[in-house]
Symmetry: C2
DNA sequence: CGGCAAGTTGAGCCAGGTCAACTCCGGTGG
DNA sequence: CCACCGGAGTTGACCTGGCTCAACTTGCCG
């Protein structure tokens, strides 16, 4: 009877229903215990996980939607330091909130606050679960490092191209490959890439003009020339050189 | 006898001699086994851990020195995506080398390539070791996210100020607090922060002119006004406003 | 002491930030 | 059902922080 109740709570959650994710690795008892001691939460755009809430529930698992870690500067400049999506587990235990960003939803987000006690028990005893969560954290770390590399020296067009690949790599299910869903708004995208919304807009237009992609809507792209997009993302200046040659011809 | 031999190999290594780090958590048998199956390596500036070597030894622990993860763009632009120091353990198992940077030493670096097999065994059975390594990976992840936030929207002076705090937070031992060691060269610093060496140089001069710090040598700083440095790092425009007011006065 | 890489300084320029005006779209209330 | 509203996105014109290039100085190592 209790099991049935738990099934109700967890059965539609990605963490359980996707065999590769955390809760799918648990035994019946483990899942039951974790489920009972954890709390789900539905957030909508702009909702923040407050520090006091995080003090009690420092482990957050994402079922669906996009959660951002935002840093705010004194004068209002904002940056999105990381994006968390389906399957990501954020462990903020003992992370001083100095120098830690705020966790803010970028749309409708379903999360599950996991009981630290049960989580730690499972970490200690279930190698499969441990492996899943270790790989998830590694992904987060290397993704953040990649992202640092991307925004450090790349120019606007190249950053955007890299971001499109990041979206393609992270999207679940259909791997059509030429259809990419952009799960965030332009304004969030700009903050994630360290640029202005105006610049993002101009860069999308630029990519369309070059015939690299078309953007039927604000959150979907159809890639028309993946190799060229790759070259742009890798900072190949030949691609851009074409453009300036054209401009020169026009002027001449 | 064998134990004595192992002591020779490991006794001066930070991972063992610093009680907070990984190898200090191991039982005698575990340390013995891990030591026998692992390989130390001394690197000097510019040395790279090659992909084929990493395929066999994908887990790298840093004893001393600074190791960088570098991304290279087509046209030669380089960025340092992350800095690894004493105690950091880099786990590259199953990380596709596409989109992964190269690991390059920025000076003399002593590393230990850990046996994946033994490492995994220890992960499974030793909760203390597991905890240490989990926290280390979390540090790496959150540090990378912080860094992304720093370089995304901050301007040059602010990035440099943030970097000085990062160095202060990471330096071991003496917490004088006003003395900060810069463990990398200017040129590496520039690549880590996504700026030009020229700009780095100008910014250090600027900070000296403002009386925030003095730089007796290239790799040591003495902080004179920590609160102001903090405000600069946090993007407080009032500090910079002073400067422009001065400039305005000068012009007027 | 010579040679070379790292670091600094100065001058000019451009990618992208800034500001302002406008359009588009989804949600809300009469 | 439509009018209205506010936030998101776009477009154009302008401006500036930091990149670029070149010349120079400094520091390190054999």
């Amino acid at each position: 009877m209790r099991n049935i109740k738990i099934k109700d709570k967890c059965k539609d959650c990605a963490l359980y229903s996707d065999g590769k994710l955390f809760c799918a690795q648990l035994s019946g008892d483990e899942l039951c215990e974790l489920s009972n001691q954890s709390r789900t939460l539905s957030m909508k755009r702009g909702d923040t996980l407050e520090n006091e809430a995080l003090a009690h529930w420092p482990i957050v698992a994402i079922d669906s939607g996009v959660l951002s870690m935002q840093h705010l500067l004194q004068d209002g400049r904002k940056t999105i330091a990381a994006l968390f999506m389906r399957g990501d587990i954020i462990d903020l235990r003992n992370i001083s909130n100095r120098n830690r960003g705020a966790l803010i939803a970028l749309g409708n987000v379903d999360v599950c606050r996991l009981s630290p006690k049960i989580f730690e028990q499972i970490m200690g005893h279930n190698p499969d679960a441990q492996k899943v969560i270790w790989e998830n954290l590694r992904d987060q770390a290397f993704r953040a490092m990649d992202h640092s590399g991307d925004i450090a020296k790349k120019q606007a067009l190249e950053k955007l191209a890299s971001f499109i690949f990041e979206c393609r790599n992270r999207q679940v299910g259909f791997t059509d490959g030429d259809l990419v869903k952009i799960p965030v708004r332009r304004i969030d995208l700009a903050e994630y890439l360290g640029m202005q919304p105006e610049t993002v807009s101009r860069c999308f237009k630029d990519l369309e003009k070059r015939g690299v992609l078309e953007a039927p809507s604000l959150n979907a792209l159809k890639l028309l020339n993946v190799p060229m997009l790759r070259r742009i993302a890798n900072g190949d200046k030949d691609v851009l050189a074409n453009e300036s040659r054209i401009r020169v011809l026009k002027i001449a």
